[in-house]
């Protein structure tokens, strides 16, 4: 590594790490909020992030009122960024973010360089749980892929991972890939899901599995993988209510490919280096209502903050982060800004696993903010309730709540009127 003296150092008001849908929306909205100096850093040779490999349609119904494919949705934001002449660097990987907001990056063109920023927006997305994180017995042959890797192979590189396929996990990527591989001429024997419900959207079960007669085996898991060089077969068994395989239910499926669609993890190594406090539930940063993390000037949005099912909400959330970053930079110049002392925690209970944001500032919050949350199991006919101190300010009946579907509610500033310093905001499910 060259010595500090020779390292090129740039200065920008806002540095956005990642040029996927989150990074693009954040940069556009920071610019629209008046910040002229915004730089997007992206590791890949193109902007758009994961959307580039999501060639199926179903994006943008909420944001554009049309059904777009992933690349088309990305193109809308890429052209908005282009119109605003937002600076970006491709094939540029961020290596480190220091707590004084010095960003270290590397590219073939510039080598290692630094950017001194006034605010940083984290938009690195997420990655899939690799196989090592699962315990499946048996050999470790080739032919085991995460569903997202397979998606990249087929849609970006034009390569088929295999011909006879079993999929473990019914997350959306697994479901989408079941259809994709079938269309490309492979045979998908089944999708096995450990839980008694699918982690994917209902529409994907209909149009990706039912349309092609691919069975979804709920409460099933892979108990063995066979093959020396390449996968030759997998064994699937039913599980009991404690998720333990039931002896005698094993079925062997000869196949050459096993796809794992078992979950996504926010990509937070850089955030940790910067000293950002991570929520063990979401595996993303704890943020306040401006989407600022525990490190002043560092904001987070999109899948790096918490895993989203719908890109429309990623764009919405990220636009808020970008506008907040621009405001932070402005307030910094004015010597103003919010303190951490006036933050009220949002406590979750009764089936709700987390809330983003995790803290709200009654003094500084916008007129209204969005709380996004997920439940831990499938619930029917429950009320989502929001308490401020002892006061119940919201009470909304939901016919169905499932872990696979992110929920949201709007909190208005006036609902927090008269909040005492010791009060908490509580978000929970109630039976009545």
């Amino acid at each position: 590594m060259p010595s500090t003296a020779t390292i090129q150092t740039l200065e920008r008001d806002i540095v956005v790490v990642g040029g996927g849908s989150a990074g693009l929306a954040a940069a556009i909205s920071a610019r629209d909020a008046g910040c002229e100096s915004v730089l997007v850093l992206e590791r890949e040779p193109q902007l758009g992030g994961i959307l580039n490999q999501c060639i199926h349609n179903g994006f943008g119904l909420h944001a554009f009122k049309e059904e777009l494919t992933g690349p088309e949705y990305a193109a809308r934001y890429i052209s908005q960024a282009r119109e605003r002449q937002i600076e970006h660097m491709l094939r540029t990987t961020v290596l480190d973010i220091a707590d004084d907001l010095t960003v270290t990056a590397v590219s073939a063109e510039r080598g290692v360089f630094r950017i001194r920023a006034k605010a940083v927006v984290l938009a690195m997305g997420c990655r899939e749980c690799p196989r090592g994180a699962l315990d499946i017995c048996g050999t470790r042959p080739a032919g085991v892929y995460t569903a997202g890797t397979a998606q990249r192979l087929v849609n970006i590189d034009g390569l088929m991972p295999g011909r006879e396929v079993v999929i473990l996990g019914s997350g959306d990527i697994g479901l989408i890939m079941a259809r994709r591989l079938t269309l490309e001429g492979a045979h998908v024997a089944c999708v096995a899901e450990l839980m008694p419900y699918s982690g994917g959207l209902k529409r994907n079960i209909v149009q990706c599995l039912d349309d092609f007669g691919i069975p979804l085996l709920l409460s099933h898991t892979v108990v063995n993988v066979e093959g020396t060089k390449r996968v030759e077969a997998v064994t699937i068994a039913q599980v009991d209510e404690h998720l333990k395989p039931i002896p005698g239910t094993e079925v062997r499926y000869p196949c050459d490919t096993l796809l794992l669609s078992v979950g996504l993890l926010p990509e937070n190594e850089l955030s940790r280096q910067a000293g950002v406090r991570i929520n063990p539930i979401t595996r993303g940063a704890f943020v306040d209502d401006s989407l600022m993390t525990s490190v002043p000037g560092v904001f987070a949005c999109g899948n790096v903050l918490h895993v989203h099912d719908l890109v429309d909400y990623v764009s919405e959330e990220s636009a808020h982060a970008g506008a907040s970053a621009a405001r932070y930079v402005r307030q910094l110049a004015e010597g103003a800004g919010r303190g951490a002392s006036d933050l009220v925690p949002v406590r979750v209970a009764g089936g709700i696993r987390y809330s983003v944001p995790a803290f709200v500032s009654p003094a500084n919050m916008d007129e209204k903010i969005t709380l996004r949350f997920r439940v831990g199991a499938v619930y029917q006919n429950r009320y989502v309730s929001l308490y401020v101190g002892d006061r119940r300010v919201q009470h909304r009946r939901k016919q169905i709540l499932a872990p696979g579907e992110m929920q949201e509610l709007t909190l208005r500033r006036e609902e927090l009127a008269g909040i005492a310093p010791a009060d908490e905001i509580r978000l929970l499910l109630e039976e009545e």
């Binding site: 040779p45 193109q46 580039n52 060639i55 199926h56 349609n57 179903g58 119904l61 059904e67 777009l68 494919t69 992933g70 690349p71 088309e72 193109a75 087929v154 849609n155 970006i156 590189d157 034009g158 269309l183 490309e184 959207l201 209902k202 529409r203 079960i205 209909v206 149009q207 349309d211 099912d309 719908l310 579907e405």
Partner: protein, 119 residues
């Protein structure tokens, strides 16, 4: 009178829709959260259709080997696999723009296959 239960695929909500039929005539549609669901259900029980998306190779681009494409409108569900097979030999050359026709009137459906990415 017969009843069919469907899951609407027009948006991520996935409403559970019940369709009542008198022979092939739709008598009622219930459970849909919006008008699009009504439309979907009537079509699904008479002439189900789908949008098809896939990729075709692109030459002459420094970044991309494949370009993503879709049917510009829905095609009959029974033709989905035929559409993908018809595209198997198709190649494109950069530059390709979103909306460019990659294959016209695919499988006699009257629907064009168009690019969904600028390459």
């Amino acid at each position: 009178m017969s009843t069919q239960h469907l899951t609407c695929i027009r948006c991520p909500k996935g409403c559970q829709i019940t369709v009542e039929l008198e022979g092939t005539e739709v008598v009622s549609v219930t459970g849909n959260g919006c008008r699009r669901g009504d439309e979907y259900a009537r079509k699904e029980v008479t002439n189900p259709t789908r949008t098809v998306t896939t990729v075709v190779p692109v030459e002459g681009s420094p970044v991309a080997r494949m370009v993503s494409v879709k049917t510009a409108a829905d095609v009959p569900k029974s033709k989905v696999l035929d559409v993908v097979r018809a595209l198997a030999g198709v190649r494109t050359t950069a530059p390709v723009h979103i909306g460019d026709v990659v294959l016209a009137d695919v499988c006699g459906t009257g629907v064009d296959v168009v690019a969904t990415k600028n390459v």
